[in-house]
């Protein structure tokens, strides 16, 4: 009789422990899902961007929501790049969190409209859109005596401040 009671107590304890563990199991599952969500998704070449001083990190799902829409970013970049907006075979935009301590030559209006940029003088985890004009043709610069033809780029990238819609800078690497 005593043995049966012990058995019931053990089984009961196991049941309670199992029930208590369920939320943790789901939490672990959630964390796993979150870690999958934080993998950076970009069509940019991250090693080329690193050579140019730029690093990207995945935008959080809730925080730092862009003030302007993707369409607004493409519109702003297209107005800034009127030639490429007509000749590009494809125009796309990526929302990213960008850091670039290497670039400081912003326009006065870009600095005036973004107090954080004004303070840092460079991009520091700044929400941006990278608008890419694909299928364009832009000749790079060269040097005298170069034994190669000047590079011809097929993509023009424009970095748009996702908080203000201001053009921050542009770049080429492919």
């Amino acid at each position: 009789m005593m043995e049966k009671r012990r058995l019931y107590m053990i089984l009961g304890s196991l049941a309670v422990v199992s029930m208590l563990c369920v939320p943790f199991a789901f939490a672990a599952d959630d964390e796993s899902k979150n870690s999958v969500q934080t993998v950076l998704q970009t069509s940019q070449d991250l090693s080329a961007l690193a050579e140019m001083g730029m690093t990207l990190e995945q935008a959080p799902a809730v925080k730092s929501l862009p003030t302007i829409s993707e369409e607004d970013a493409i519109k702003a970049a297209s107005e800034y790049m009127p030639v490429f907006s007509k000749t590009a075979t494809n125009i796309k935009a990526e929302y990213q969190i960008m850091t670039n301590p290497n670039f400081q030559a912003f326009s006065e209006s870009a600095l005036a409209k973004n107090p954080t940029l004004q303070q840092n003088k460079h991009l520091e985890k700044t929400p941006v859109y990278i608008v890419s004009f694909e299928g364009i043709k832009k000749e790079g610069h060269d040097f005298k005596g170069s034994n190669k033809k000047p590079t011809v780029f097929s993509e023009q990238n424009v970095v748009v401040d996702a908080s203000t819609g201001e053009i921050l800078y542009s770049y080429n690497y492919r």
């Binding site: 080329a48 690193a50 050579e51 140019m52 001083g53 107005e79 800034y80 790049m81 009127p82 030639v83 490429f84 290497n102 670039f103 400081q104 030559a105 912003f106 326009s107 006065e108 870009a110 364009i136 043709k137 832009k138 000749e139 790079g140 610069h141 060269d142 040097f143 005298k144 005596g145 170069s146 034994n147 190669k148 033809k149 000047p150 590079t151 023009q156 053009i167 921050l168 800078y169 542009s170 770049y171 080429n172 690497y173 492919r174």
Partner: protein, 233 residues
């Protein structure tokens, strides 16, 4: 015999065109370049290039696909590398013309470039510097503002200071009445140390001043480290 004399140079020219196709399609340049600069100390001699550029009172009007730009640069003649900083008029790239840029080609790599949305005003004076900084980075500045920097592997053995066009048919900066001026042209001599940049000194380089077709250069570089250049279309 006469026929052979004519044929040999022609064959040589054809061979040169095949071996060096870029010589046929090279861009146009007006300004100055050094020869290969090496140090007897064994340290890398060229660690930077700097020039003050005074822009003309008018800027060239270009069409889409054309480009004219002005820059000082450190150049690796041997490895084909370069780091340059300056300003460019290239109607395809943005609505701000000219705009500041920094570009580079690493050894064995491809050209990359960052463009600003601001640029020099007409008749303005700015100092353009490209030099090696902490961490082995190459940084480009307009006055004290950093345009960009890169960890790209650039190993210069020369310096160049040019107004570069994508073609001799494209207009250069400057007119006969309002010219582009390069002044205070110097390079950063790193002969004294391979790593301690505090020992590096800015010096006047020895340059060959030259002008490609449809441009002209009026050099007084020997006496006062400056020259004027302009478009002659």
């Amino acid at each position: 015999m006469v026929k052979r004399k004519i044929t040999m140079p022609t064959a040589s020219l054809l061979l040169a065109c095949i071996a060096f196709p870029s010589l046929v399609s090279a861009n146009a340049f007006t300004g100055g370049q050094s020869g290969i600069m090496t140090s007897s100390t064994g340290n890398q001699m060229v660690q930077g290039a700097r020039a003050t550029v005074i822009t003309p009172n008018t800027y060239p009007s270009l069409s889409s696909g054309q480009m004219t730009c002005v820059w000082p640069a450190v150049v690796g003649y041997s490895g084909g590398s370069i780091a340059q900083v300056g300003f460019a008029v290239e109607p395809g790239v943005g609505t701000i013309q000219p705009h500041y840029f920094m570009g580079w080609i690493p050894n064995g790599g491809s050209y990359k470039e960052i463009q600003s949305t601001v640029g020099p005003g007409k008749g303005s004076t700015h100092e353009y510097t490209v030099k090696k900084v902490a961490g082995g980075y190459w940084a480009g500045y307009v006055d004290t503002t950093q345009i960009s920097s890169t960890n790209a592997n650039v190993t210069p053995d020369g310096v160049q200071y040019y107004n570069e066009n994508e073609s001799t048919s494209t207009r250069y900066f400057g007119t006969s009445t309002s010219k582009l001026k390069f002044a205070q042209v110097v390079y950063l001599d790193g002969s004294a140390s391979g790593s301690d940049s505090s020992l590096w000194t800015w010096k006047k380089p020895i340059l060959a001043i030259e002008a490609d077709a449809n441009s002209q250069v009026d050099s007084s570089f020997e006496t006062n480290s400056s020259w004027y250049s302009w478009d002659t279309h």
